[in-house]
């Protein structure tokens, strides 16, 4: 376990010292500055717009980070063959994959905390409100979503090239976020012909709407307490299954 955590530590250093990570952090600052300028043009609802953008920025930057960095995390090691100097070390392939999962998760948390602090500070300074609890709740759901997405990123990056895993991740993300909407519109009668296909996709692709409560948090709406437990259960079980599939393919892969 110590070896696994140490390896994760090295991978985290590799990630957060990457120019792309700096670029994302700088992008976060720029995002909030632009939000303030944009708010000057909004009448009345400026605080709400900033709150909305705070929550959205966490989801958006997580997506960009996983899309650009995550999708090449293993494939890049395979392509540059730097994986040889790692796999020669006395640990198993699944341990290396798990180290990457931990490293990606912690890096995302670091980015999310940074963006959350920026958002909370902006709201406090410009609107005088300490909007902490909703941001924390959003961070919680966003982290669960990250577990599912990271497991997919590892699967794609283990099996496919960097460019193909990027495309597959994009598809997974957009299907994952639209599946709930599609099912709801079918329940109301539209697009019934597509129902069998959507039902199959529902069981294969992740339903990322499970982790999206931005509207409720923004308007202070209550949602059932058990949603926390269901979300945790869904994220962890989905993450484990996809991770095990990644391990299977990684073990089989000729390097």
């Amino acid at each position: 376990m110590r070896k696994l955590l140490f390896t994760s530590g090295i991978i985290i250093k590799e990630i957060i010292r990457d120019k792309f990570f700096y670029f994302l952090s700088f992008g976060g600052i720029l995002f909030f500055l632009l939000t303030l300028i944009f708010n000057e043009m909004v009448v009345g609802e400026a605080a709400k717009v900033t709150k909305d953008l705070t929550l959205s920025s966490i989801s958006l930057f997580n997506f960009i980070f996983l899309l650009i960095y995550g999708t090449r995390i293993i494939s890049k090691e395979i392509e540059t063959k730097s994986i040889y100097t790692i796999l020669i070390r006395p640990f198993k392939r699944w341990e290396y994959l798990f180290s990457n999962l931990i490293a990606l998760f912690i890096s995302i948390l670091m980015l999310d905390f940074f963006l959350s602090i920026l958002g909370i500070m902006t709201i406090k300074i410009f609107y005088g409100e300490f909007w902490f609890a909703p941001v924390l709740k959003h961070l919680f759901f966003s982290s669960l979503e990250s577990i599912v997405l990271i497991s997919f990123v590892l699967l794609f990056s283990t099996v496919f090239s960097s460019s193909l895993s990027l495309i597959l991740f994009l598809l997974t993300y957009f299907i994952g976020h639209s599946i709930d909407e599609s099912l709801r519109s079918m329940a109301s009668g539209s697009g019934v012909a597509m129902k069998p296909i959507v039902n199959i996709i529902k069981f294969i692709m992740p339903n990322l709407a499970f982790f999206d409560y931005k509207t409720q948090l923004l308007y202070g709406l209550k949602f059932p307490e058990n949603i926390y437990y269901y979300s945790v259960l869904y994220a962890i079980s989905y993450g484990i299954i996809i991770f095990l599939i990644s391990v299977y393919f990684f073990k089989k892969r000729e390097l």
């Binding site: 110590r2 070896k3 140490f6 390896t7 090295i10 991978i11 250093k13 590799e14 990630i15 010292r17 990457d18 540059t80 063959k81 730097s82 040889y84 100097t85 796999l87 020669i88 070390r89 006395p90 640990f91 198993k92 000729e254 390097l255």
Partner: protein
């Protein structure tokens, strides 16, 4: 006891929907405390053989034993140091951090002294806090050597270690290899360049198209070697007895020791300048290159 034993080992894999027989039914034994060179043209199966030894890639058929044991686990990996061909590392960490990672995963702790001395040995002390992405190809190769030997492994595997190195760096690497050999280690290296390994190896195996063409110790190979004499001097009939001419220098290869002695006596009598006398089995090995 052998450090490594191949018993009828084959490797087949698929690449771009094609089946490739990378290694075909190879059996060979690498003695403990030897410098064992695997040579052959590009694509012969050298790298695949080395990757099978280290467990990076599985064997399709046959057995590989490490110090007599067939079972391959994390403890077996601790016995190995590996320098891949064209080594590459995490680019945003420093060599010090990477060597710390190697030590921690092998020994469970970081020994600062070991890291510093390994960096000094390969001449990277001044760059220990620089990020690897700023390194030149030669510096990356040197870091590759440091990470292969820092945890004091019993078997050091070097895949094309001389590729991309200048003559001075090659000599330095040879010194490191000899010092490891003197400390009782087993060194297995691959090369497609015969000149690089000729005066280095205690054993040589030649692989071509995945098949083992020969595997001999150096003493046996020396019996098949020829002596190359380089000198300065001119006699009209030189060319008729197989002497090559390059500028002011002359070259001749002689098969046995007696002829060599007689020829050297002759050169001495003629007061010709003898530049060098070298024993080489390169020509013999080249016959197997095909």
């Amino acid at each position: 006891m052998f450090a490594i034993e191949f018993e009828n080992v084959s490797k087949v894999y698929k690449k771009d929907f094609k089946t490739i027989d990378a290694v075909r039914n190879i059996s060979l034994k690498v003695p403990v405390n030897s410098i064992f060179s695997i040579i052959g043209p590009n694509g012969a199966g050298k790298t695949t053989s080395l990757k099978m030894i280290t467990g990076i890639t599985p064997v399709t058929k046959g057995k590989i034993r490490v110090f007599g044991k067939e079972k391959f686990n994390s403890d077996t990996k601790k016995l190995f140091g590996f320098l891949p061909e064209h080594p590459s590392f995490f680019s945003n960490i420093t060599p010090w951090e990477f060597l710390g990672f190697v030590l921690f995963t092998s020994e469970g702790k970081i020994d600062k002294q070991k890291i510093d001395s390994a960096l000094e040995r390969v001449g990277l002390s001044e760059e220990k806090d620089e990020k690897v992405r700023k390194f030149s190809k030669g510096m990356v190769q040197r870091l590759g050597i440091a990470q292969a030997i820092i945890h004091n492994p019993e078997i050091i595997i070097l895949d094309e270690p001389f590729s991309g190195l200048d003559p001075i760096a090659k000599e330095k690497l040879k010194k490191i290899i000899f010092s490891l050999y003197d400390r009782g280690k087993t060194i297995i290296l691959s090369s497609h360049n015969l000149t690089d390994i000729e005066n280095l190896s205690t054993h040589i195996s030649l692989i071509r198209k995945g098949e083992l063409m020969l595997s001999e110790d150096i003493e046996t190979l020396k019996d098949k070697a020829v002596y190359f004499v380089e000198f300065r001097g001119d006699i009209d009939e030189w060319e008729t007895i197989g002497i090559e001419k390059k500028g002011g220098r002359r070259f001749i290869s002689l098969k046995d020791k007696n002829t060599l002695w007689r020829f050297l006596e002759f050169l001495k009598k003629q007061k010709f300048e003898i530049i060098s006398v070298n024993l080489s089995f390169k020509n013999y090995l080249e016959e197997f290159y095909g």
